[in-house]
């Protein structure tokens, strides 16, 4: 585990997680018997070849989909049997997502995109504004509040996506190949941003193919054929 900072407390725990997909006549075991714990403040990279179950694991961690079987705790509370509504509430308040393809809504401005989770949370207009502007400043995109995503570069769009993810001060940031659609310079910029966020205390879990970026995390989990084959801490780059 991380040698520099002692984790405060357990944030996420998976125990005996299985995930099976059925499509037509085919049964695919995406995850098998996964055991995992992530503590507050950790920076975890999930690595593995294509089809090893990285994204599925991240989706389960992010409560985007439930496991087929096994136990899942979030902040010490079992969550695998929660209703869709309750899961949505936890995603909204406790989890921030960053996607490979940014997933900004084209019809909304930068400000409105970043505001979206806060809107769903029911915060007042003033509080939303304060948090959104603060998050956009943090990713150095405050000057683009009125822009539409189509008016931004890929790197800028991903920065806005990061701002959206952190605006609600989530307990954990889940990033799925956040640099996958970016050139190396923009990719470095986004990873630097994540480093800064971690340094400020944010728990981060990132899926990446890029070994160099994975090395920035303090802990690396290797998946192969839906199983955790390696889980080791390493020093920051």
């Amino acid at each position: 585990m991380d040698g520099e900072s002692e984790p405060e407390a357990e944030l996420l725990r998976l125990s005996g997680i299985r995930k099976v997909f059925w499509s037509d006549d085919l049964e695919t075991h995406a995850l098998s018997d996964v055991h995992l714990e992530i503590a507050r403040g950790e920076y975890v990279a999930i690595e593995g070849p294509s089809g090893s179950g990285k994204t599925t694991l991240l989706s389960i961690l992010g409560l985007l989909e439930p496991p087929t079987s096994g136990e899942h705790w979030f902040q010490g509370r079992p969550v695998q049997h929660l209703s869709a509504r309750e899961r949505a509430r936890i995603r909204n308040r406790e989890i921030g997502f960053i996607f490979q393809n940014f997933n900004l809504i084209g019809d909304l401005t930068v400000y409105e995109n970043a505001e979206l989770p806060l809107l769903y949370r029911g915060l007042s207009s003033g509080e939303r504004r304060e948090r959104v502007l603060s998050a956009l400043e943090r990713v150095q995109m405050a000057h683009t509040v009125s822009h539409l995503p189509s008016q931004l570069s890929g790197g800028q769009q991903q920065r806005v996506a990061v701002a959206r993810a952190v605006a609600g001060a989530p307990a954990v940031l889940l990033a799925d190949e956040p640099t996958g659609s970016l050139d190396s310079k923009s990719g470095d910029g986004v990873m630097d941003l994540l480093d800064e966020l971690h340094a400020a205390g944010t728990t981060i879990c990132i899926v990446t193919h890029n070994h160099d970026y994975a090395r920035r995390a303090r802990r690396a989990i290797h998946l192969f054929d839906g199983r955790v084959v390696d889980d080791q801490a390493h020093s920051a780059v």
């Binding site: 985007l64 989909e65 949505a88 909204n92 393809n101």
Partner: protein, 804 residues
Amino acid sequence: MAQLWADLRFALRSMGRRWKFFALSIAMLAVSLGATTAMFGLARSLLLSPLPLPASEQLSVLWTLRAEEQRFKASLPDFYDYRARTRTLSHLAGVRSWLFALSLPDRPAVGVSGDHVVGDFFGTLGVTRALHGRLLTKEDDTPGGPRVVVLSESLWRDAFGADPNLVGGTIQLDGTPYTVVGVTPEDFAFGFPGQIRSSLWVPLSVGPLEYAAEIREARDRHEFNVIVRRKPGITEARAQAELAASAAGITAEHPTHRIGVRLENLHTEAVRTSRELIWGLFAAVGLVFLLVCSNLASLLMSHNHARRGELSLRSALGASRLTLVRQLLTEAVLLYALSVPLAALVAHNLLGLFYQFTATDLALLGIPVKLELSTLAGSLLVSLLAGLSFGAPPALSATRLELAPMLKESAAAASPGASQRRMRSALAMAQIAIAQALVLCTGLSIETLVRQLEAPLGFEPKNVVVGAVLASKNEYLDPVRVSTFYDRVIEKFLALPYVEAAAINNSAPPHDFESIYFEIEGQGSEPKPMFEQHDRISPGYFGTLAIPLLSGRDFSVADAGGPPVLIVSKSAEDRYFGGHALGSRVRLDNEKVTREVVGVVGDIHRPGLGRSTRIEGYLPYAQSPFQSMRVLVKTSEPERVRFEFQKLVSSVDPEVPVVEAWPLEAGVTWYAIGRSLATYLLAVFSITALFLATLGTYGLASHLTQQRTREIGIRMALGSPPLSVCWLIVRSGLSTVAIGVAIGWVLALAAGQALSRFVPDALAFDTFWFATAPLVLLVSAALACFFPAWNAVRISPAATLRRP
């Protein structure tokens, strides 16, 4: 609330970006909702709102019932008896329509429709104030009293230039001076249902004295429409019971005069001929509106499906399914709500058009037709409910999300799984089934109406012009003189090269004018047989209207001075004469002579819903002439004859007015409606309905195929022949559509059966619609599946797979 505003803002922005789609949707909604609103506005004004008379719910028409519950007007002695015996009625008035010849300075006399009234006519209707002067009172109806008349505001304005000094002055009616005592208020209009609107009112007692004296004693002359007003708090049933007792008393005193009584609410009576058509058209436009909604649901489903990536993201960011559904519903409801102002505009413009051909009797009572604010509010409510109802399935479908794959890839590229495909196919099937059922129900409703409207009448009104001629001069009280006058008029018309035939009748078919009981010599049956209509006609009448002579002979000139004769209709022969009427001898209730049946002719049918065959007897007019007759002219130049009608009549007697000349085809209101405007409108509705259902099916089938674009690419990449792939896709899409069509077909069949049980004359099945509609939908679906598939196989598989 903040989220709702955000949803609204986003919905408006989204509409702005896809304005063509939304503009088309709003236009479709506006037209269909507008038509539905207009029809409802019309139904509400005419059928559901009270008549524009004070306490109109207290007003009823009193019908005399004779054998087999046949409705008759009342005779004057009966009217007086009812009035003397009643304790439940506050007012009674008898009305007999009359055509007056109004003489005007420096102009030929004109025919004006009016009423001879008995009793307190205006008091019965609740009209107490005149625009000028006074109204008639029951004191005016005194034999030997001064000859007084009240004019309608429109006659006063149009014929006398709104001369305020006219009140107190005299005018000439039928060559006799009458003192004008008043003018009715501007908003007062009256015409008894089935008649034409009256322009003046004269007390019967001071009208043609010979007529008044004769009719005062005749219990068998059922010539008065009686309107009654119940005392406050008296129910119609109670008044009915009292009048029935009075009728029983009259029968006890006059055993040969067996009568009953039925009270019919005046409003019900006024809407009788229009009700079915108005509700039928309302149902037709309502179904078209539902089809539009159903189509929009299909379009929204495609539209929402294309946004599943965005919806997944919103869900990932914490939006619950309820929140997403609410957002999509906000958009759908906004779409419907935005169509309401346009729909109101459409409704406003259509209202007058619909009114023209649906409300004939209702116009007589001057019922104002307008779009009430509450009707528009109702329209908005219906629109919002439709938005919620038809927006919900697409919203529920689109928010059934599989988040992880949607977020990983672009939403459109994420191939749906088997369960998703099954779900979408089921939804598509349901929508197609609804569209199919709706279009078939619309077709059945429309076909029912059209068949009723276009059913054969038993006579040919085409190219026949009718002129209402009023030989009301005193010299024409002589039967020989009036017959001679009309004979000469007929001769004048027949001399014209463009006139094929001409004849006269005291009424123009198919309107019922006068029924009469009769006895067949040697039978003495009870109840008495009855002609539902008996006409006084000239020789050549049947030829003029192409009514076939089935046996015996037509009337001839020789009948004028010959023995009394009669011609009967086929239905009368079958019903009363055992199929052999020729040679039978008949005595009509109002005659002392017996008539020999010399001919049998084809039946005339009443047009419209609930149509029936008229049991009819014909008399030679020369043996029993009227002063007011209809001259019917069959011509190759109807407009020219109409124009020349007065000139021709004036050439025989310049003082005889032609009240009006009109094409019989237009005069036969229902027939005219069937042939022209209503048929045209209904045809437009039916084509629209089929077009909308086709469009919706095309959209759904196309949507189903487009979802399989990646699959097509994969199959092509693996080397499948293009046509084979196309056939696979078309077959698969068609099977979904075919199941939907079949379900809709069965639903419509069941609906048709149910409807035909409750609605008389409603069609339960129509071969054309039940064969054509499914075929059109299936062909459109096949094309909708084929074209996207064909486009997909024509480009490289790699490009297909790269498509978002």
